[in-house]
């Protein structure tokens, strides 16, 4: 059986931070790739 629960405010905030941090990492890697290509 599965239970369904809505995210808490804390979870929403934590998830937003996690995604922002991951996106920043991806941007850095993209810049590194660009520099390597030059």
């Amino acid at each position: 059986m599965i239970k369904v629960t809505k995210p808490t405010k804390k979870q929403l905030a934590e998830n937003a931070d996690k995604m922002k941090a991951a996106i920043e990492k991806l941007k850095e890697r993209a810049k590194e790739r660009e520099n390597e290509a030059k």
Binding site: M1, I2, K3, V4, T5, K6, P7, K9, Q11, L12, A13, N15, A16, K18, M19, A21, A22, I23, L26, K27, A30, K31
Partner: protein, 359 residues
């Protein structure tokens, strides 16, 4: 070279060999390589035991070169096309039927949970079901530009939740002129076996076989600080996928430290640029690489660092040393070999560095 010649030589060496009787100690069959060019294996020799395998090698080595992996090469062949593979195991496996189940997560531990976060401008369209028949919308809440889907708790071991949706452009978008992708990521806790066809996330009818560019970027990847995620034990099936667009599976399973096997892709033909780059980077429990036997097109950096961090990996290459080109290439983990087709690269060392280190 024909199959009767091989059987004849094995019989002459005192072996119970046959191309028609699967129960023979040595069963010789024509292998399917799925490609029109000289195949990876022309024939497959299946032995019923280690002792039989040793005898087969001894008999065939009078005429052929046999490497440590049981691949049989024509002696003094200019092109080094492998003729046969010697395998252990009584009956050749029947080809698996493509996975038609919807993607699912099954609890290996009670109270395992499944959720997803996404920064796409519109949250992915997804439904869930406990039986694969009755579906409900998987709802989400949006805050600070991130959509968080409701947490689905699998109460008991063996509980399953199926997922499907219509997201033909993938679960990630890269707005024009912007460097960052807006991607989706599963949040899993507990211990979970994945299964079913991953393409049900993009197409509820699972007719779609091409992963769009950026489609599954970072989908199961561990985000955040720390040692990775030990939740996912097995990946969902990727066996109907025929092509992966640029960045399609980039870092898809990054640092899933309990994943023991990579998803086979027996239908995969085309890998776009960076499409499988770092796909299994940091998956420290892998003992089997993905089988990709019919890939004919490798985009730039398509498999760079695909298994980054693996210390126990062998890359086997056949090369023409005069022209410095690699004519065949495969990964080998301790348990299973994988065939990635043929690729021309500049140097042998370059091949190893490229696949394991991405340089």
């Amino acid at each position: 070279m024909n199959i009767n010649e091989i059987v004849g030589r094995l019989k002459a060496g005192g072996l119970d060999a046959s191309s028609t009787n699967r129960s023979a100690a040595v069963y010789v069959t024509e292998a399917r390589s799925g490609r029109a060019e000289p195949g990876w294996f022309g024939f497959r020799i299946v032995c019923d035991s280690e002792a039989t395998e040793r005898r087969v090698r001894a008999v065939l080595s009078r005429w052929y070169d046999i490497d440590a992996n049981g691949n049989v090469w024509r002696l003094k062949s200019k092109n080094r096309v492998p003729l046969m593979a010697i395998k252990r195991g009584g009956v050749p496996p029947t080809p698996p039927t493509p996975t038609s189940d919807y993607l699912y997560f099954e609890a290996a531990q009670a109270n395992s949970t499944v959720s997803m976060m996404s920064t796409m401008s519109m949250a992915p369209d997804l439904e869930y079901s406990t039986d694969g028949e009755t579906w409900q919308e998987w709802q989400h809440t949006t805050a600070e530009g991130t959509h968080t889907f409701d947490t689905l708790t699998l109460t008991n071991i063996g509980d399953r939740v199926y997922l499907r949706g219509d997201n033909p452009n993938g679960l990630c978008e890269v707005p024009e002129g912007v460097q960052q992708p807006n991607f989706s990521n599963f949040t899993l806790t507990g211990s979970i076996n994945g299964g079913g066809n991953i393409m049900s996330l993009l197409d509820t009818s699972m007719v779609l076989t091409e992963v769009p560019q950026y489609g599954f970027v970072l989908l199961f990847s561990f985000l955040g600080e720390g040692q990775g995620s030990s939740v996912l034990l097995t990946p969902p099936a990727m066996d109907t996928i025929t092509a992966i667009g640029d960045f399609g599976c980039y870092s898809m399973y990054g640092e899933c430290t309990s994943l023991t096997a990579a998803a086979d892709m027996p239908s995969l033909n085309v890998i776009g640029e960076n499409a499988l780059k770092q796909a299994y980077s940091g998956c420290s429990s892998l003992t089997a690489a993905a089988d990709m036997p019919i890939v004919s097109s490798f985009g730039e950096s398509s498999i760079a660092s695909m298994y980054e961090g693996m210390s126990d990996i062998t890359v086997l290459c056949e090369a023409d040393m005069q022209t410095q080109t690699v004519t065949s290439l495969k990964f080998e983990f301790p348990e299973l070999p994988v065939n990635v087709g043929t690729k021309t690269l500049d140097t042998l060392l370059g091949v190893v560095m490229y696949i394991v280190y991405g340089v």
